[in-house]
């Protein structure tokens, strides 16, 4: 059904899809897929060596795998996906084409060169410095150039996104205001600009230093600006993830639940991220010498605690929206509606499990982002426990769940199996949860991160959680592989269809609501209060208690 001007109409949503833009979206998505495969292979070597089984005994190899894992997962998989996402929400949802596909391919090429250069320098052992690349530890100069080119490509993609929004507005391709999901993506892109500017300062100075043009480099300066990249980038992920949550709630319930979300409230909550992100950079330098304690407290602790406000607001809006929908469908009781959630739907399950994992990640972040208890957690395995919950359990799982909806529509091929998709979502949840719990216990017991602890260096009490880590890693790697297989089979061998019913079969659990039925969001409030106020504050104050029983230091 190609319309003149290279547009086709989506048979399910009725949205118009510009074909050259679609190719761009798919190309970026394929690179995301390739990155998570490379990162996942690295995860096998990292996960099975950091636990009680030592797959890689040579530290040199282990640290190469770990650097490759961090880059391909955190930087490449997430950013390629996010670029695809911002193109999608600014064109398909706004009924328009991309501002310029030439610029889109320019961004793609820059990112691709950066991606290649970084991966080659890392895998050849010329850049075993982790994705943080703290100087004065030095990698091959080309490595910094690759990093910079990739970031530059992302910057071009973000500018293209804003130009596309502008074009759609001027040409009036849509009526009214941006859809909520696009609004969320726009907030993510604004934060993305702060990422690129901080990253440029950190990486350009390091590049210049590696070329030998300047004598030395200020480590503190680098750490602040690097984390301007690293920290702010996590909020691009968070904001994009929340936008995806709203999309999932809408798509998986066949548009029903979205009616019970107050969009004005959600838009305010999105906008709050822009206020709180940059002040939070300081939680990465809490125990560094040289920064003032007052800066650390203001930025690292107080600033960072406020960062959790928008996420709490979104959690309530989404869970509350689902609750109100189910109540409007006639399900009652404070928690009775929970049993009526369509748990077998991969989108709904993906949404709720992603929210739960992200929430746990947020809970265990609170003691760690507080100035004094950071002494207990800094650079221990507690840190990867936290971010595997947020960026893996939260962002990655949400992106995976969304792909079950968007990929069939973009390729007009049926998802190979919705049952397997649901199984993938649940195994991901279990695997990530076990992985993160074992990492958190290791961290609590002082086991350092980024360290290949060979058996003779292991403290006796680390063996238990290290064994658990292998179990979690195995489950989650299997689940991730299942996702890749489902994507590949769908794209290459899924049954072609343009029938809306067929393309979405098993993916949509419409909830039939009675007009004017009584709704309430009380159950969600109680759940969130138990989660935040009881569990989070208990852990938080317990870590202060533990700190108080340490030998005196100051």
């Amino acid at each position: 059904m190609v319309l003149p001007g290279l547009f086709r109409t989506c048979p399910v949503t009725g949205l118009r899809v510009h074909l050259p833009t679609q190719r761009l979206i798919i190309a970026n998505f394929v690179m995301a897929l390739l990155s998570i495969v490379i990162g996942g292979i690295a995860a096998i070597f990292v996960g099975f060596s950091r636990g009680s089984t030592i797959l890689v005994k040579d530290p040199e190899q282990y640290y190469i795998w770990l650097t490759a894992h961090g880059f391909n997962m955190l930087i490449f998989w997430i950013l390629w996906f996010e670029v695809a996402l911002v193109y999608f929400v600014s064109t398909v949802l706004l009924n328009t084409s991309i501002y310029s596909s030439r610029i889109g391919w320019l961004a793609f090429t820059l990112m691709l060169i950066g991606w290649l250069v970084v991966n080659v320098t890392v895998f050849t052992g010329n850049a075993t410095v982790m994705f943080t690349a703290y100087p004065p530890m030095a990698a091959h100069p080309l490595f910094y150039l690759g990093y910079i080119l990739f970031a530059l490509g992302v910057f071009v993609a973000l500018i293209l996104f804003f130009l596309t929004l502008y074009k759609a507005r001027v040409e009036g391709t849509y009526k009214g205001h941006l859809p909520l999901v696009t609004w969320g993506a726009a907030i993510a892109a604004i934060i993305g600009l702060t990422v690129v500017t901080h990253g440029a300062v950190a990486l350009l100075t390091t590049f210049v230093w590696r070329l030998g043009l300047v004598e030395s480099i200020d480590v503190m300066f680098y750490r602040w600006f690097f984390w301007g990249l690293g920290h702010n980038a996590q909020y691009v992920n968070v904001t994009a993830m929340v936008a995806v949550w709203y999309a999932l709630l809408t798509l998986a319930t066949g548009y029903t639940a979205a009616r019970f979300v107050n969009e004005r409230y959600a838009r305010i909550a999105f906008a709050l991220y822009t206020l709180f992100v940059v002040p939070g950079i300081g939680h990465h330098i809490l125990v560094d010498p040289g920064f003032s304690v007052y800066l650390k407290q203001a930025s690292g602790s107080v600033g960072s605690h406020f960062l959790s406000v928008p996420s709490m607001l979104h959690a309530l809006a989404l869970l509350g929206g689902l609750e109100a929908t189910l109540r409007a469908a006639g399900h009652t009781g404070l928690f009775g509606w929970l049993a009526k959630i369509p748990w077998r739907n991969p989108g709904v399950a993906g949404l709720l499990l992603s929210m739960l994992l992200f929430g746990i990640g947020g809970v265990i972040a609170q003691p760690q982002t507080t100035l004094q208890p950071n002494l207990l957690f800094h650079n221990t395995m507690w840190v990867p426990a936290h971010f595997h919950l947020t960026v893996v359990g939260g962002t990655t799982l949400a992106f995976m769940a969304l792909s079950y909806y968007v990929v069939p529509l973009l390729t007009l091929r049926r998802l190979i199996s919705t049952r397997l998709a649901t199984i993938q979502v649940y195994t991901a949840f279990i695997g990530i949860l076990i992985l993160a719990i074992s990492m958190a216990i290791l961290g609590w017991l002082g086991s350092p991160r980024r360290t290949l602890v060979l058996p003779e260096l292991m403290k006796p009490e680390w063996w238990g959680p290290a064994t658990l880590l292998v179990v979690g890693a195995a489950i989650w790697i299997a689940s991730g592989a299942l996702w890749v297989v489902l994507m590949l089979f769908t794209v290459l061998a899924g049954r072609r269809s343009t029938d809306p019913g067929e393309l979405t079969s098993g993916l949509i659990s419409a909830i039939i609501v009675k007009e004017g039925a009584k709704t309430s969001k009380m159950g969600s409030l109680v759940i969130v209060i138990i989660f935040l106020v009881v569990i989070m504050l208990a852990l938080y104050f317990y870590s202060f208690l533990r700190l108080g029983f340490q030998p005196p230091f100051w």
Binding site: P59, E60, Y63, L93, L94, T128, Y134, M137, K175, G176, H177, P179, L180, M220, Y246, A247, T250, R259, V261, N262, E263, R264, Y265, A266, V287, D288, P289, S301, V302, H305, F306, S308, V309, L313, L316, A317, G320, T370, Q372, N374, L375, H378, N379, T380, G446, P448, R449, R450, T451, L452, L525, V533, Y540, F541, L547, G548, Q550, P552, F553, W554
Partner: protein, 173 residues
């Protein structure tokens, strides 16, 4: 609906009472957390992130640490002596410290090469982590109340031998 454009009349709805409660809840939680760290600053002065750091010439610091290591190897560090601890790829200098329980020591810690992390892990739930930076010496006051063996591990990736950077603190009665 979240994925379609909407006119302002459609989405610009007043906040409900429920939503106002949510916003209040989120801010109260954040304020509680933020207030606690500020309060702790005044309540427990003996469990704080060290606030003193001075610039330290890498070579000079290394020679100080080596001299300290020679002088006190195998000996209990007397009260009132400043301790110089250098994190060097891939060892601690000195690699063993013998301290007296109940005595407050002042430790200067820095590195002549790259970033490292000082992690003290001990019996009875003791964990302590700070960054060690080249060019900058952290000044840490510590007092070990109980005798025992504590490990010093490096917790910032510093190269191939990073995991082997394990030193020891022996606290004697």
């Amino acid at each position: 609906m979240t994925i379609f454009p909407r006119s302002i009349e459609e989405w610009y709805k007043p906040l409900t009472r429920e939503e106002k409660i949510w916003i209040a809840l989120a801010f109260i939680v954040a304020l509680t957390l933020a207030g606690t760290t500020i309060a702790w600053h005044f309540i427990d002065r003996s469990h704080q992130v060290p606030s003193i750091a001075v610039e330290a010439d890498p070579r000079e610091f290394l020679s100080k640490a080596m001299e300290f290591s020679r002088t006190y190897s195998g000996k209990v560090v007397p009260e009132g002596t400043d301790i110089y601890l250098a994190a060097v790829r891939f060892t601690w200098i000195p690699s063993e410290l013998i301290l007296k329980a109940g005595v407050t020591y002042r430790i200067w810690v820095s590195s002549p090469d790259v970033l490292h992390g000082l992690s003290i892990i001990g019996p009875g739930d003791v964990v302590y982590n700070v960054m060690v930076m080249p060019g900058m010496a952290y000044v840490i006051h510590v007092k070990f109340d109980k005798p025992g063996e504590y490990e010093i591990r490096c917790n910032e990736f510093c190269g191939i031998g990073h995991a082997n950077m394990i030193g020891r603190i022996r606290v004697v009665g």
